[in-house]
Subunit: 302 residues, 2 copies
DNA sequence: GATGGCCATAAGAAACCTCTATGACTGCTC
DNA sequence: GAGCAGTCATAGAGGTTTCTTATGGCCATC
């Protein structure tokens, strides 16, 4: 009654070779085994698929048509299986990645280039969301991986530190403080500052650092996008307090950065994944590429 | 390593129900059996298809995609199987039928109408070929069934008599011989005759009947097509010697037919099939329809 | 802290599949 | 025309797969 793939393969082979014996050989089977499969299929369908004679077999019209249809089904199945095995081998697949915009704009492109070199078939769907959202996306399963910060420990997420991202002071060309080795919140609070919007993780970090020094952060300028903030600094409007990783100095080579002496001025950028959920091979490959593109790995751009 | 339909069905059911337990119930299986199938599929593909937790399972992206693809494969297979079962039930299918033109023009349409009423899904491909070719087509397997004459016994063909086809004299309106009850070759040989071409089975039959009476058949008119011969008769050019079955008097109601007293004047019309080859259900249905439409069955048109 | 839901594992039983050996039949060759 | 080669069908034994029942672990909920 039930139909099996063996039967489909048997019918296709028998029709294509024109002989039960040759079909059996093609399938690495004994001839009786193939006979049994064909007979079972005929019973399951209630159809005569072959005319038998002592000289051989001849497919009936129904046998011919059914074999062709089965052939298409088997081909489709083979294609699906081959695709799945491609994914399994990490040669193809799709990774949904939630990532901080700042990382997406700096670290990520190099990692993706590296990934493409090793695994050209892998597709990465980048969701650049603000810091708090990265963990959300991963928790909800909307992203398989996340790169961002983690407000607190979370039982359902697994976090691996990728690198530390320091907030640095970004000085416009020729600024008076450029000769200093290191700045402090106290020094900075006397200067016009350029920061990102309230609510961003960078802003929260900076506010906390200032608060620890007993100061209140009052930026002269705020911008939503990092690139806007950098442009404001470059125009000489103030000193930027921005994450080092988000600054691509190749894009603004005239700027100078200085460390800020404050304990809270660094945040850990983590690789986030759902706890207990094993990564797809494609995601594994992406993780590999990201690890090898870290600031400290010697491979990445400055 | 190998993949089975059970595994495909298990994956599709598991993804669609979102639970191994419900999937097992849908497939009338125990839950462990389904677990094993999924596991086997994961091993065969080398892919993790579900994230397991104590609270249940969740398909991975790969599991979701693979399930959708498998779904399409299974649907295609189901369709093929359903089609094959339709054929098996005689509700659909295609019959290749070789048939004498004279029969094709007269008996066959009624039989096909009857067939369509009983089995609307069956397609009949009619090959109308001259008498000698009918047996050829069937022997070569180009036609599953034949309706025609058989020159001699043939070991590879099975023949079942359908009806006897008499050659009759066809008289134009108001002919002098119309009052006779029966004609003879001797009487006919004195009249201008209309026959079919030399080489046709009808012509050969008539020649043999005349020869038995010691006469030579010399038609005044010859035509390839039966309809042409009938037209010549209707025009009053002579008396037709034509097969009764081939005459549809509804098309030429003014004509009168008279029997011819001669032993050789009838030929058996046979239903031909390959010996040993069982008929497809569709062909069986056609045979049934033909048998019930025979001249003597009381169902057919005159 | 007990309970219910869900999945994984294990062991025994049943079903299926395959293989070897053999038989039946046909067509060809000597 | 008798033997031979080729083809498929059948039968019985053996092995593998697959199923079911029973059980355990884990988490969430009450």
């Amino acid at each position: 009654m039930a139909i099996s793939l063996r039967q489909l393969r048997a019918l296709v082979a028998a029709v294509e070779t024109g002989s039960f014996g040759r079909a059996a050989a093609r399938l690495h089977l004994s001839q009786p085994a193939l006979t049994v499969q064909i007979r079972g299929l005929e019973e399951a369908l209630g159809l005569t698929l072959f005319e038998r004679s002592a000289r051989g077999v001849r497919p009936t019209a129904a046998g011919l048509g059914t074999a062709q249809a089965f052939r298409r089904v088997l081909d489709a199945l083979d294609e699906v299986v081959a695709g799945a095995r491609e994914q399994a081998a990490g040669r193809s697949g799709t990774v949904h990645l939630a990532v901080l915009p700042s990382v997406a704009a700096t670290l990520l492109p190099a990692a993706l280039v590296r990934l493409r070199q090793a695994h050209p078939g892998i597709r990465v769907l980048v969701q650049d969301v603000v810091a708090g959202r990265v963990a959300e996306r991963v928790k909800a399963g909307e992203a398989e991986l996340g790169i961002g910060t983690l407000p607190g420990p979370d039982a359902s997420l697994e976090a691996e530190p990728l690198f530390e991202d320091d907030l640095v002071a970004v000085l416009p060309p020729g600024h008076a403080l450029a000769a200093a080795a290191c700045l402090t919140p106290a020094i900075l609070s006397a200067e016009p500052l350029v920061l990102t919007d309230p609510g961003s993780s960078v802003r929260a970090l900076a506010e906390r650092a200032f608060a620890e020094a007993g100061l209140v952060l009052r930026p002269a300028y705020e911008a939503t996008y990092m690139s806007t903030a950098v442009a404001l600094v470059r125009a000489g409007l103030g000193i930027g307090v921005l994450p080092a990783a988000a600054l691509d100095l190749r894009l603004a080579p005239v700027l100078q950065t200085l460390p800020i002496a404050a304990s809270a001025m660094r945040r850990g950028i983590l690789l986030l994944r759902r706890r207990g959920g094993s990564l797809s091979p494609a995601a594994e490959a992406l993780v590999e590429a990201v690890r090898h593109t870290l600031p400290g790995s010697g491979v990445a751009a400055s």
